[in-house]
């Protein structure tokens, strides 16, 4: 339902990466991997329609992204930014209610049904008891889940997550990943970027590796998250090993 064809991305006419083709449907997880500065964030912003593509096209459903209004886009896909401390001390519920914005009349504030939807989204992620907590004073993982809840309250079938596990400790990271897996099972389409190839291997339906100004690899995790590809992309010598439990981990060759 989200696709890119022959996409070139960049800022101010300066190309960061080109020749990007990808697609993600409901019930799929597309994972973006790539070294720092390769253009993951630029690609995200282009897919979200926040910056225009330099060439090529992004499609939402079957329509070109440029032909959709902000409101139509917001009903198609929800953005989950990296959780940061905010200037204003909103409660978790206030933040999740903001996910309802696109469903409100232009001059309206959230009503009873919006509150119900927000509480349901929080319950869905197992953080219903945080509704009245101040979002700046809960743990990073809880805050990330709060932003996921906001995206769920937006009632868009596609979730775009910018490094949802960056700067989270082990417990919170596993918590967020478990929720992403559950969302996939609930037939949401998910796009997420990460620095962790293990996550990609573990969670993704499709992996897109961005490096060297192009799509360096694209396909199923077992074909893309491999020792040779990762070694080439990150410039280090690594292998992908299978653990006793059947999972795959990336390790330095020794």
């Amino acid at each position: 339902m989200l696709g890119a064809r022959g996409l070139s991305i960049g800022y101010d006419g300066r190309t960061v990466a080109a020749g990007i083709d990808l697609t993600v449907a409901r019930g799929e997880v597309l994972c973006l991997l790539g070294p720092n500065g390769a253009g993951k964030t630029t690609l995200f912003k282009t897919l979200l329609g926040l910056i225009p593509p330099i060439a090529g096209e992004v499609t939402v459903g079957e329509r070109p992204l440029g032909s959709l209004t902000r409101a139509e886009l917001a009903k198609s896909m929800a953005y989950v930014p990296q959780a940061q401390v905010m200037e204003f001390a909103y409660t978790v519920l206030d933040l999740v209610l903001m996910g309802r914005t696109v469903h409100l009349g232009p001059f309206s504030a959230p009503g009873r049904r919006d509150h119900e939807r927000a509480h349901a989204a929080l319950a869905d992620l197992g953080i219903a008891d945080l509704a009245d907590a101040e979002a700046n004073r809960i743990s990073g993982g809880q805050r990330q889940l709060c932003l996921v809840a906001r995206a769920l309250a937006q009632d868009a079938p596609l979730l775009v997550m910018d490094e949802p596990t960056a700067s989270l400790d082990l417990g919170n990271r596993l918590l967020v990943l478990e929720r992403v897996r559950a969302l996939k099972a609930q037939n949401y389409g998910v796009v997420f970027s990460t620095h962790d190839p293990d996550q990609a291997r573990d969670l993704a339906t499709t992996v897109a590796v961005i490096a060297g100004g192009r799509l360096a690899a694209y396909g199923a995790p077992q074909d893309t998250v491999t020792g040779p590809i990762l070694s080439a992309v990150y410039g280090v010598d690594v292998v992908v090993e299978r653990t006793e439990s059947g999972r795959h981990v990336v390790a330095p060759r020794c």
Binding site: Y11, D12, K45, L48, G49, L50, R70, A71, L73, A74, K75, M77, A78, Y79, P81, M86, E87, F88, A89, Y90, T91, D94, M98, G99, T101, V102, L104, P106, F107, S108, A109, P110, G126, I127, D129, L130, D132, A133, E134, R137, I138, Q142, Q154, G171, L175
Partner: protein, 349 residues
């Protein structure tokens, strides 16, 4: 899943009912402040006299006399002006703090006060009549922000907010230099004191006709802010997030800047430069109703109105001469701001 948390993190429900009660309370306080302001002055009135005179006027049975003259020709127009200017400055401050995601922002951020000040002092230098001084101040305030906005758009930066603030500082500084130039050129015995007094803010000499101009302009600016209250609040998340949530950021931001500029320019042109209200009052509103803009806006407007009504009453009754409003608001604002800082970094909560 472990989501149990320290119970101190959970705030008492800052829900709709609570903020409705707070806003109702602020309205009552404002009415009491208006009553007090109407009573006090060189010709003191009792609460009964004030209420009876207003009631007679409302039912169309006014009795001409000294009470009505003092109340309706002198005192209430000034109280109404204080109410409107206070509400305008606090509402503009709350809006800009939300829009710029910065609690240290005041309504002057885009140069409107400096611009309006330049126009007004130029009017004084040219010995224009009072209404022309006010009109010139209003127009130059609006033009200044127009230049800032156009400049920021022309620079086409990725960070539109930052460029807007920097353009505001540059153009505001230029207008400030213009004010200094006018001061140097002004006649030091008549015009310079008038300029200095105007720049410190005052509501002396307000007439009914001033209120008839100011009221519709302030209301015209407040209505769009009230209508778009929820979307303006969403802008506080930043441009990218607000866009992804379906908000037409450029349109809403344009409405905020236009409305806040309109009400600030109106306020400054009629009252002169009154600092601190637009900075401090929104913080105090947030302490009462939480950070949500749809609640901060009415709370800040009511508090700003009540505050300036009281301050202006002090200004005209505390001493034998009129005390400039800017002095009194600074006397109040600076220590309150320090107190807010001392409450810790959560002051903008």
């Amino acid at each position: 899943m472990p989501s149990s948390i320290d119970s101190s993190v959970v705030r008492p429900r800052a829900d709709a009912r609570r903020s409705a009660v707070v806003i109702g309370g602020l309205l009552v306080i404002l009415l009491l402040a208006v009553l007090l302001a109407a009573m006090l002055g060189p010709y003191p009135l009792t609460p009964g006299e004030v209420i009876a005179a207003i009631a007679r006027r409302v039912i169309g049975a006014a009795q001409p006399g000294p009470v009505d003259t003092v109340l309706f020709q002198i005192r209430l127009p000034r109280v109404a002006a204080a109410l409107l200017v206070g509400a305008a400055l606090a509402a503009a401050g709350a809006s800009y703090q939300t829009l710029f995601r910065n609690p240290l922002v005041s309504p002057d951020i885009l140069g409107v006060s400096a611009g309006a000040g330049f126009g007004a002092v130029l009017g004084i230098l040219l010995s224009l009549p009072v209404f022309a001084i006010q009109g010139l101040g209003f127009v130059t305030g609006m033009i200044t922000v127009g230049i800032v906005y156009t400049l920021a758009r022309a620079l086409r930066s990725q960070n539109e907010i930052l460029v807007l603030v920097l353009a505001g500082i540059v153009v505001g500084a230029l207008a400030g230099a213009g004010i200094s130039l006018v001061k140097i050129l002004a006649d030091p015995y008549n015009q310079l004191p008038a300029i200095t007094f105007w720049l410190l803010g005052s509501l002396s000499g307000i007439k009914v006709s001033d209120v008839q101009v100011v009221a519709p302009l302030v209301i015209l600016g407040l209505v769009p802010l009230g209508l778009l209250r929820w979307r303006i609040g969403v802008l506080s998340l930043g441009d990218d997030e607000a866009r992804a949530l379906g908000v037409n950021v450029r349109f809403v931001r344009g409405v905020v800047i236009t409305s806040a500029t309109l009400i600030t320019a109106t306020a400054v042109s009629v009252s002169g430069v009154i600092g601190w209200i637009g900075l401090v009052i929104p913080h105090m509103a947030r302490l009462l109703v939480g950070p949500r803009y749809d609640r901060v806006l009415p709370a800040a407007a009511l508090m700003g109105a009540g505050f300036l009504v009281l301050i202006d009453t002090v200004a005209r009754t505390a001493a034998r001469i009129e005390i400039p409003l800017g002095l009194l608001t600074a006397l109040f604002g600076a220590p309150v701001f320090v107190w807010l800082l001392a409450r810790g970094r959560r002051m903008w909560s």
